[in-house]
Each structure stands twice: as structure tokens, then as C-alpha cells.
């Protein structure tokens, strides 16, 4: 239908509006003039459409309210994620409009900042975790938040976050492998058992996903001297390494793999939203590496005050609850969420790498993973 309409439209454009009077002296010339008009109209139509597509949206929309650009990863701003709810809540009080920019995952978000630098349109960036904080600071894109709130201090105390004058923690969780009890009645009790076993696994790509990178850190914390052998062994029963957490986790839900890397809090989603308790986190006796997600404001922001307000808002009890129940991570500020989430068994925590070690070793560890996961 659309095709025929388009054809009709084009035909109507290319047909002359008025039938030209025949020129008895030069019939060819008259006809050619009308053709010129038709082709010119067609060209104007095409060039016009091309031109329209080049203009940014802002040209066509009025800007009554100030806009706050917030960058995050895909699943954060998706319809079911915390992004839209946080936006609605913040807009009620700020008299502004929150607009999201997305990247596929947290590491990809940082890469985007590295490429675009000051041209990256974001006042606030959400979703870089503490393993990326030093690398993020080195870009020169971020600035100190200068917030003097008790909530910030409390949250930082709860997470022992470094670089606390730039990044504020927003949620946390322990990396865990999630399995379906109906399919895997005897889950591995340790990382060693998982590595040397034959249960199929999937995890997101560490080069683009903070979850995948978490596994790299976890392995390097547990096996600092023989990580290469561990990766080789794990590759034998790794079905695939998708780009993001969502695709990796879906493989476990659809039965393509036995275990998928996620967070220890992920089963709470299935219990609260789907009322299904078959999905569980495999708790390993060696301990679990912790992830702390952060938010920070841009040095190039045109809305400094709004950005600061938004960071403060992220630590409010309301926002913390939204984050916990939509991002399915643990809050960094003590706030009651729901029994299923609050009463989750906590894994044994592992020591966190310092920002200095991460800065020095991250690339080397990733290279090792890439070279030995073949």
C-alpha cells in the first residue's frame, strides 16, 4: 500500500501541473522544458527529504524546558528498566526534561566517551562501575560532583567506593552464575567445580559489558597465577559470548545453556515479578566479586545544577527503591525494598582490586581472556 502510494506521489510530482501549450515552432523544446520541471521537482523532493534527515531533532521541537541529557546502557533505559521511572519521578520536581542517550553496555559507554570526548552529549553518565572509574577519570570528561549530602557519605561508606569526589555509588551486587533448578539439580558449589565441570555456560563479552568484565576480575582475583589455563578450560563448555547481559541471560532462560553470569540478586526478579522460584544463584565457597555501579556528571555539561540535583536524587530513598526493584541490584543506601530482595542470601565477598591495579592490569587481563578463550 505504502509502495503504491509512494509511486502515486512520485507520479503526481513528475506529471506537469498544467499541460504545456504545444509550441508549433519547436515541439521538442517545449516538451523538454516540461520534463526539466518534472525532474527538478523530483530532485527537490529527494534533496528535501535528504535535508530533513540531516537536521537534528531539536530544529523541529520547541525547547520550553531545560533538558538534562543522561547517558546509560541499553537495559537501564529500556521500558522495563529503572530509567523511565526515574525520569518521570525527577521531572516532577525539576521542571526539566530528561533525555536518555544509550550504549549497548557500560564499557561501550566509556568507549563512546573516549571517541567523542567533549562532543558526547551527556550531562550525567550512569552505569560505569568501579572497575572503570580510573579509566573514566583519565578521559577528562568527568568532574567533581561537589555534593555535601549525608546520603552520599552513607552510600560511600557502604560501598567503600574510591574516587568518591567524582563518582557516586548508585547500586551494587555480587556477580553470580544463575541456573534453573529444574534443569540443573546439582549446581556447582565452587568456581573450581564450575571450571572443571561440563555444565554449559554463557557470559557477556568482557570487552563491552561490565558484567563480563566482572568475570575477568573475579577469575583474576581467584586464580592470579594461572588465569590462562582457567580461560582455556572454561572455553571448552562456554556455548557463546554475546555482546550484552540480556542476550547471555536469555540463553539460560531458554535452556540453551545451564548457567549464565548475572548477579546474586537476579532470582529476586523471577520471584517478585514472575512468581517463579526455580532460578537460583550458585553460591561459590571461594567468594564472589562485587560490582558497584556509579553515576557522575560531565565537565562539559550545560546544566550543572540540574546534573547535581539528579545525582542527589539517585541516592534518595525513592530512587534507590526504583533502582533496586527495576535494575534488580542491591541499594547502596539503606532502604527497605521487598522481602524477597532484602532477604536474599549474601555471597561471601572477595577483596576488590584497587583502582591503581585495575588501571595497570585491565587491558592485560582482557588480552589474556581473548587469547585463551579461543
Amino acid at each position: 500500500m505504502l509502495f503504491s502510494r509512494m509511486t502515486t506521489l512520485l507520479q503526481s510530482i513528475t506529471k506537469p501541473a498544467l499541460t504545456p501549450k504545444p509550441d508549433p515552432k519547436n515541439p521538442v523544446k517545449t516538451s523538454q522544458q516540461s520534463l526539466t520541471i518534472r525532474v527538478c521537482c523530483l530532485s527537490i523532493f529527494t534533496v528535501g527529504l535528504l535535508g530533513v534527515s540531516f537536521f537534528p531533532n531539536s530544529v523541529w521541537s520547541s525547547e520550553a524546558k531545560p533538558k538534562l541529557y543522561v547517558a546509560s546502557y541499553d537495559s537501564f533505559v529500556s521500558q522495563w528498566g529503572p530509567g523511565p521511572k526515574l525520569k518521570a519521578l525527577f521531572e516532577q520536581s525539576c521542571q526539566c526534561e530528561v533525555q536518555f542517550t544509550t550504549a549497548i553496555e557500560g564499557v561501550a559507554l566509556l568507549n563512546r566517551i573516549k571517541i567523542q570526548q567533549k562532543h558526547f552529549k551527556a550531562d550525567v553518565v550512569i552505569g560505569l562501575d568501579t572497575s572503570l572509574s580510573q579509566e573514566a577519570i583519565n578521559t577528562g570528561f568527568f568532574q567533581r560532583h561537589n555534593l555535601k549530602l549525608s546520603t552520599v557519605a552513607t552510600a560511600q561508606r557502604h560501598t567503600s567506593i574510591a574516587h568518591n569526589d567524582v563518582f557516586i555509588p548508585i547500586d551494587k551486587g555480587y556477580f553470580s552464575f544463575i541456573y534453573d533448578q529444574k534443569r540443573v539439580p546439582n549446581p556447582p558449589k565452587s568456581m573450581a567445580e564450575l571450571i572443571n565441570g561440563d555444565l554449559s555456560i554463557a557470559y557477556p563479552d568482557p570487552r563491552v559489558s561490565t558484567v563480563g568484565k566482572g568475570l575477568v576480575l573475579w577469575m583474576n582475583q581467584l586464580y592470579p597465577n594461572n588465569t590462562d589455563k582457567v580461560w582455556k578450560q572454561l572455553a571448552k563448555h562456554t556455548v557463546t559470548v554475546p555482546a550484552n547481559w540480556s542476550e547471555s541471560y536469555a540463553l539460560m532462560l531458554e535452556g540453551e545453556v545451564d548457567l549464565a553470569l548475572s548477579y546474586h540478586s537476579s532470582p529476586a526478579y523471577h520471584q517478585i515479578v514472575e512468581n517463579r522460584s526455580q532460578y537460583q544463584a550458585a553460591l561459590f565457597e571461594e567468594g564472589h566479586y562485587q560490582q558497584i555501579e556509579t553515576a557522575a556528571m560531565s565537565r562539559h555539561s550545560q546544566q550543572q545544577t540540574l546534573a547535581q540535583d539528579f545525582l542527589a536524587f539517585l541516592l534518595s530513598p525513592t530512587a534507590q527503591k526504583v533502582l533496586a526493584l527495576n535494575n534488580w541490584m542491591m541499594p547502596v543506601y539503606p532502604v527497605a525494598t521487598q522481602a524477597e530482595l532484602d532477604q536474599l542470601p549474601l555471597p561471601k565477598p572477595l577483596n576488590q582490586f584497587t583502582p591503581e591495579i585495575l588501571e595497570q592490569q585491565s587491558k592485560h587481563w582482557l588480552l589474556m581472556w581473548r587469547s585463551h578463550s579461543l
Binding site: 509502495f3 562532543h119 556455548v239
Partner: protein, 524 residues
């Protein structure tokens, strides 16, 4: 006037892309420590291995399909032949989802291996390329002289010897080029490898370029992989040019008559048993028609945008070809040869032509330079300048328009040249200008094949995710991108609904092209 402008724009784009790659490599050379020649060699080896195995598997499957259909005269045959082209236009991401839904853990068919990694990549490539090879084989097998076939029967040759000594003797010249073409397609495969492979163990050069830039942020590595990819496709291109064989695509001449409605029904039923059931099952299970808010905008955007790109591509190609039509007699050689018997023009149905002309060269550049390589350099320049703060939709549009040029050039250049040879003298004699001769003389000749190519490019543009993947999905809410985004946002129902709609749209457009312009050829 138009031709230099268009050619200049294309060359500037290529130059800017190359400059972008060089700049990126120069700027980040000191900061990057992640490049490993060992990894590069392994990826290159995997690229060639998967492409070789995919081609071989497609050939075997194509032979099996062809042997069952060739020489049979049945009313369904024309539509089966036409439907074999369908695989050429199916969106790769939709093929991946169909494959997972069909042979995955919860799929219709149980297979003893996972549809991920190398087996999945081979299966998906087979699904796309085997019908394409089968179509060529059927056409070539039916050209084997009957006496030779009778002779093999009288000699009592077994099927293997018949294939070896009779079939291959006749089909090899065309088949070798087709296999090389399929090999090149598999080397340049992006969405399938990204979706079913992706990890370090199943990554091709094409995907590695994307991963280097988007995952590792390693422009040096992306640049080196781009060069390796260009050299690999250049090698394929060299062999294709060295032996310009006959590679038939969906827009080529077919000796098959226009099918009746009954034939349509019967052939579609037959096709249904091959891959219609998985496709239909996929659509019926996944689609949420009522929730039109999910699919209305992506569909409108995809169709509107696809029409714009296809139209831009068509206009650009016409601009490229126009000047040639107005060349004076001496350039066309007609005056010199007047009075002499004209050498009959053989109908060249090859999609690969010798680059004797600039447009011919452009066709080869389009074939040789992968879109992802072209986009890599442009992406870097775009995001490192003030342009990076505005939507790159215009750049995506331009790159995709360039992507359509080889298709239009392949389809239109030869008939345009023939029409020009036949009618230029007359046009010049009666004083028709370039515009009027284009409209009155060339348009009626080229209209059917231009329309069909238009629909073909529309479908291909709608299924492309390689270009927006590098420049940013959020700026480009097309159907294919929306499917990909929904998958990455844990919205699987939405993803499957959008994929089903995408599939239906592709089938409708394909049906439109086959029904409305069934017998277009470059020679008519």
C-alpha cells in the same frame, strides 16, 4: 555536470573514510597495547574456514536441491525457482531468530549440537546461500545436451561419476565464480556471525572490526583488521575479475514463464515444506498484532527510510550513467562502424564485469570495500568533530545509498549501454536532449528492471544493521535495529514480534517484485 559531482562525492567519501582510519591509527597507536598478530591470524583463519565450509556445505545442499528439481516440468517449478531467490533478501537477523526457534533447545527440530558458534554460522549461511546455488545449478543442468545425458545412462555411470564427468564439466565455469561470490558473501557476513558467534572463538574479520572499535576501543586494531578484510575481499574480487563468469541473481534473465495463480499456490505449498513451516511457525507464535505501538513506528520508519535510500541510489546511478548517453557519435563508435555489420552483442548476465569504465570500477569498489570498513573511518571522523553532537542519520543514509550503487549499476549499466548504442544516433538526429531521451527512450526500457532492483535494494537496506551498529543504534529506529535493540534490552516478545513483522514485510516486497516484475532482464 552531474556525473563529476556524483563521482566526486563518492571519491571524497572514500577519501574521508581512509583518512579517518589513518588518523585513528596514528592518534591511538601510542595508547594501545592490545593488538596481537596471533589473534589477528586466528581470526583471519576462522574467517576463511567458516567461509570455505559454508560455501562447501551450501554447494552440497544446493546440489541436492537442484538434482530433485532440474529437468522436471511442473506448474510449481517457476515459483520454486523464484522462491529460491527469497533467501537472497531475507534479513540476516531474522534468519538467526528463525534458526534458533527451529533448531534451538526449545525448537521444532532437535539437533545434536548447539546452534551457536561455528555450526550455527554454517547452518545460517547454508540457509541463505544453498538456494542461491541451487537456482544456478538448475539453470545450468538443464542446459546439458540431452544426447550427453543419454550417453551417460547408456554407459551405466553411477550418480557420483555422472556428477563428476557430466555435470561438473558443464556447470563448473559458472559454478566456480558463483562459489567464489558466495565465499565473498560469507567473508563479509556480519549480523549472522555477530549473533551466533561473537566470542573470541567464533569471530570473523568483519565482526572483529566492529568489536575493535565498539568493544575494545582499539582503532589501530580496527584499522589493521579493515586492511586485512580489504585484502581478503580484494583477493576474491581479483579472481572474480580474472574469470568473469556468469553469476545469476534475482534480477537476471530467466527462461521461466510467468506462473499462474495455481502454480503460485502449488509452489508455495512445496516451499512451505522446506522452510515455510519454520517461517510460518515463527510468525504465528511470535506476533502481537494488536499491540501496534510496538511495530507501527519502526515499520513506517523502515519503509520510508528504505524508499528514500533506494530512490537516492537510483537517482545517483542515473546521474552516473547519464553523461554516457549524451556522448557524441564518435565516442560511441557508431559513425566509424556505420555501414559495417555490427558485431552482435552477447547478453552478459554476469554481475561481475570487467572494470573498463569508471562506473564498472565503482561497482568493484562497492564489492571489494566492506561497508563496515567504509563506516569505520567515517565514524571516527564524525564523532571526533563537532558533527558528533548531531544525529548521524544523514551519514547512515549516505553510506547505505552508496551500498545500493553496485546493485543498480549491475542491473542498469548493461541495458543502458545497449539502449544507448541502439538509440543514440536516432536521438541525436532528432535533437533530443539528455533529459528527454532519458525520460522517453531509456525509461520505458529500464523501468521494469529498475523497479525490481528498487524493491531489492529496499529490502536489503531495511535489513542492514552493520552501518547503524557503528554509528549508533539510538539514532536509527528501523525494524532491524529495533529487533537488535529489543534483544539487548531483554524485551524478547517485542524482538520476536518485530522480527515477524520484518519477515512479513520482506515476503510481501519479494512477492511484489516477483509478481509485478517477473521477467525483467537486463536484456529487455
Amino acid at each position: 555536470m552531474l556525473r563529476p559531482v556524483v563521482l566526486g562525492s563518492i571519491l571524497v567519501t572514500l577519501g574521508v573514510s581512509a583518512a579517518g582510519l589513518i588518523l585513528a591509527m596514528a592518534e591511538f597507536n601510542a595508547k594501545t597495547h592490545l593488538f596481537s598478530w596471533e589473534y589477528a591470524a586466528r581470526i583471519w583463519l576462522f574467517t576463511l574456514t567458516q567461509a570455505g565450509l559454508s560455501t562447501l556445505a551450501s554447494l552440497i545442499l544446493g546440489l541436492l536441491i537442484a538434482s530433485g528439481i532440474a529437468w522436471r516440468q511442473a506448474p510449481w517449478k517457476p515459483w520454486v525457482m523464484a522462491s529460491l531467490n527469497l533467501s537472497f533478501v531475507l534479513p540476516p537477523l531474522v534468519v538467526v531468530l528463525i534458526l534458533i526457534k527451529t533448531v534451538g533447545h526449545n525448537g521444532i527440530i532437535n539437533i545434536p549440537f548447539s546452534p551457536y558458534g561455528l555450526p550455527g554460522i554454517l547452518l545460517a549461511h547454508c540457509l541463505l546461500n544453498a538456494p542461491f546455488i541451487a537456482r544456478l545449478l538448475i539453470q545450468k543442468l538443464e542446459q546439458i545436451p540431452t544426447p550427453e545425458r543419454l550417453l551417460t545412462q547408456q554407459l551405466g555411470l553411477n550418480p557420483f561419476l555422472t556428477v563428476r564427468w557430466l555435470w561438473f564439466a558443464h556447470i563448473w565455469p559458472a559454478l566456480s565464480q558463483t562459489l567464489l561470490f558466495v565465499f565473498a558473501l560469507c567473508v563479509n557476513s556480519f549480523a549472522i556471525v555477530l549473533s551466533l558467534g561473537g566470542g573470541p572463538s567464533s569471530t570473523t574479520l568483519e565482526v572483529a572490526i566492529y568489536q575493535s572499535l565498539k568493544y575494545d576501543f582499539n582503532p589501530v586494531e580496527a584499522g589493521i583488521f579493515s586492511l586485512m578484510q580489504c585484502l581478503t575481499t580484494l583477493g576474491c574480487g581479483y579472481f572474480l575479475l580474472k574469470h568473469p563468469g556468469q553469476i545469476h541473481t534475482s534480477i537476471e534473465t530467466s527462461p521461466i514463464k510467468k506462473p499462474s495463480n495455481l502454480a503460485t499456490f502449488m509452489s508455495l505449498s512445496l516451499l512451505g515444506s522446506v522452510w515455510g513451516i519454520p517461517i510460518l511457525g515463527f510468525i504465528v507464535n511470535q506476533i502481537q498484532w494488536l499491540d501496534y505501538s510496538i511495530w507501527l513506528f519502526p515499520v513506517t520508519y523502515s519503509v520510508g527510510y528504505g524508499l528514500l535510500v533506494s530512490l537516492s541510489g537510483l537517482l545517483l546511478v542515473i546521474a552516473l550513467l547519464l553523461t554516457k548517453s549524451t556522448e557524441p557519435f564518435k565516442k560511441t563508435g557508431l559513425l566509424k562502424k556505420r555501414g559495417q555489420p555490427q558485431k552482435p552483442k552477447t547478453q552478459n548476465t554476469s554481475i561481475i564485469k570487467s572494470p573498463r569504465t569508471l562506473t564498472g570500477l565503482l561497482t568493484h569498489i562497492g564489492l571489494i570495500i566492506p561497508t563496515i570498513t567504509l563506516t569505520t573511518g567515517l565514524t571516527f571522523i564524525w564523532y571526533r568533530t563537532a558533527l558528533g553532537s548531531v544525529s548521524p542519520i544523514g551519514l547512515i543514509l549516505w553510506v547505505q545509498t552508496l551500498m545500493t550503487l553496485p546493485f543498480y549499476l549491475r542491473a542498469l549499466e548493461e541495458p543502458w549501454r545497449r539502449a544507448q548504442t541502439h538509440y543514440n544516433a536516432l536521438c541525436n538526429h532528432i535533437g533530443l536532449g539528455w533529459l528527454q531521451r532519458t525520460w522517453c527512450v531509456y525509461r520505458p526500457i529500464l523501468k521494469p528492471i529498475a523497479k525490481k532492483t528498487f524493491v531489492l535494494t529496499l529490502v536489503i537496506v531495511m535489513g542492514d544493521i552493520a552501518t547503524p551498529a557503528l554509528l549508533g543504534f539510538e539514532h536509527f529506529p528501523s525494524l532491524a535495529v529495533s529487533v537488535s535493540q529489543a534483544l539487548s534490552q531483554y524485551q524478547f516478545d517485542t524482538a520476536y514480534t518485530l522480527a515477524s513483522i520484518h519477515l512479513i514485510l520482506t515476503l510481501l516486497l519479494f512477492f511484489l517484485a516477483e509478481k509485478r516484475f517477473p521477467l525483467c532482464s537486463s536484456g529487455r
